[in-house]
Point group: C2
Chain length 367, copies 2
């Protein structure tokens, strides 16, 4: 397979596999493309790969990719994120991308990762970090998971920034299900990416594999909040192995939710970072990135104050066109109705939401 990919590229191999399922057919299909390989090599490659390639499933996967508008990007394409080449033989053969192809190749990008079981403190840190980095023109990359990942994506979108989610399964079905609408919004202005074909389900192994793409595709990786068993420590390990700058945000030593970050500081030489400016500085230390780390101010200028984690949840649960009742907003936001009422009150005072006869509605940011 490696030899075939080298000769005609991953896209070519996919086409050849779709056209002909046996070794002779493959040989003919390759010859039609002007590629002549040793027949023994072709037989060996076919023997190794044909049991693993379900051509029917492969065809279905491509049809499904076409349906959801996912595009295949292979090394050498303009849309290929060259940082992934640092993975050497662990480089993915291809990426499936839903959304803007150019979001995936941005040099000024940073990974913000953390645990699913985020504390209120961790969510606050994620909101501040992602918002501040979006303001500084960084593309925020994460894993689309609940907790820290999700809050980093949301806060970036809220700051009109670009965010990219790498998934552990195919990009045709957004996982986790509760993040379906979040991932759809990410694909509108950024990108949702996977190395797996459409139809592939996320598995534990695939989550760990996915983490190497998050670490490798960005200028630096920051762990915002993580317990000792968080998968984000695996992402941090990939960043360290690749020699990429690695940052960790400290927290109270009394909080098990920060114990993983403290371990990174103590044992993995992670740099202690406490705000977006220090995170940007770390990413810019990568050398590839030019320009100063000053905020562009284009994004959050429209609002005076920062939005809280709950504020972002509530704003996400509102629509600008159809007003919603407090209970409806609470259900969509996954928060207590009483809490939602308090948050709505603050957002109304800041002019971000309006109260109508039928319920609450979002007010788009001015400017």
């Amino acid at each position: 397979m490696g030899e075939l990919v080298a000769a005609i590229g991953a896209r070519g191999v996919a086409e050849v596999l779709l056209e002909r399922a046996d070794a002779e057919g493959m040989s003919a299909a390759l010859a039609a493309r002007g590629v002549r390989l040793d027949p023994r090599s072709i037989r060996a490659a076919h023997g190794r790969w044909s049991p693993r390639v379900d051509v029917e499933a492969f065809a279905r996967s491509l049809q499904q990719a076409g349906r959801v508008g996912a595009r295949l990007v292979v090394p050498g394409d303009d849309a290929w994120p060259v940082r992934l080449d640092d993975l050497g033989r662990h480089r993915p053969l291809a990426l499936w991308v839903r959304g803007r192809l150019d979001a995936v190749t941005v040099a000024r990008s940073i990974s913000l990762v953390g645990a699913r079981a985020a504390s209120g403190y961790g969510e606050h840190v994620a909101v501040e970090a992602a918002g501040g980095l979006a303001d500084r023109g960084f593309t925020v990359v994460s894993g689309g998971a609940y907790g820290i990942d999700g809050m980093a994506h949301r806060s970036t979108l809220r700051s009109d920034g670009t965010t990219v989610a790498y998934l552990a399964g195919g990009v045709d079905r957004f996982y986790p299900m509760g993040h379906e609408s979040l991932l759809a919004r990410i694909a509108e202005t950024g990108a949702v990416v996977s190395e797996l074909p459409c139809g592939a389900a996320p598995t534990k192994w695939r989550f760990l594999q996915r983490n190497r793409l998050i670490a490798a595709s960005t200028a630096a990786t920051i762990v915002l909040e993580a317990g000792l068993r968080s998968g984000s420590l695996n992402t941090a390990g990939h960043a360290a192995t690749l020699g990429r700058p690695l940052g960790a945000v400290p927290g109270p030593v009394t909080s098990p939710a920060s114990a993983g970050c403290h371990r990174l500081l103590r044992e993995f030489d992670a740099v202690c970072v406490v705000d977006a400016e220090q995170m940007a500085e770390l990413a810019l230390a990568d050398g590839d990135l030019a320009a100063a780390a000053t905020p562009t101010g284009s994004a959050t200028g429209a609002w005076d104050t920062a939005v809280t984690a709950d504020g972002i949840r509530v704003l996400d649960a509102l629509s600008a066109r159809s007003p919603r009742t407090t209970d409806d907003v609470a259900r969509r936001a996954g928060l207590e109705p009483r809490r939602v009422l308090g948050v709505l009150g603050s957002l109304e005072a800041e002019g971000r939401v309006v109260r109508r006869a039928e319920g609450w509605a979002a007010r788009p940011a001015a400017g």
Copy 2:
């Protein structure tokens, strides 16, 4: 002076200065001690030092030292802490010690320092750190100040550990005044130390000078909680300059009270430490210290649960013999009466205090 000290020691110089105030007298006094120096050296030394030495004040200082039982320790004495020799030409000429002389020379010692303006979190960290290190047989050294220092001393005493306070003024007058009884208790089982003679008032410069003694006299220095302007960062700087292990306890990035610790982690290569075990490990990395860092368990075994910072304040404000009213305890503890009542309730449930007709009294720990 340097030459004189080298010839007859600091104690000898003090005696000579007391006996004779002019250069000829000094020469005779030195000759009586079998020391013959070049008369020009003696005249030069006398010329340099006599304007600075107020012999009357010096005599008063020695009398005062005698009254409070302070003893003079000079390099070469058994009671001299040899780690101070690493200060080179910044080594103090002598130390005045109130309390147990052997407390000052213990090899297994660690500095716990931090800001006066401690948060509840910082106090909790100080209580846990000092208690855990006392349990592991460490002598806890600090500066006797309000906030983190005071809580480290108190928690060590509460765990029946040994603690040493280095002051920025003479040991005859305990400073700060609010810590008079705390410092008296420290001197009972540990030591209160200063390089300045009795009668010397603490000044800003002397606080900074004092910090070098805290850093130099211990196996490691840990900053428990410090804002960006805390004097404890100066102590940390001395530890780093001396090549002594330096640790810092992280806190929430949202708390300015932890910003100094984060700066130490980020810019001064301080080691991230989150509990007493990691602090002990850092001190033992010094090499001078043998044995494992396992708790002796002798101290806190008597109580099942840890005492909170407020709990320590309240216990300190109680007497085992004369019961005190809640208001009296609140005044002595510097806490709200309502808060004190809550704390007393918990301590009563734990069997640490008893309620009598006349008020509350402490119950000594069993065993």
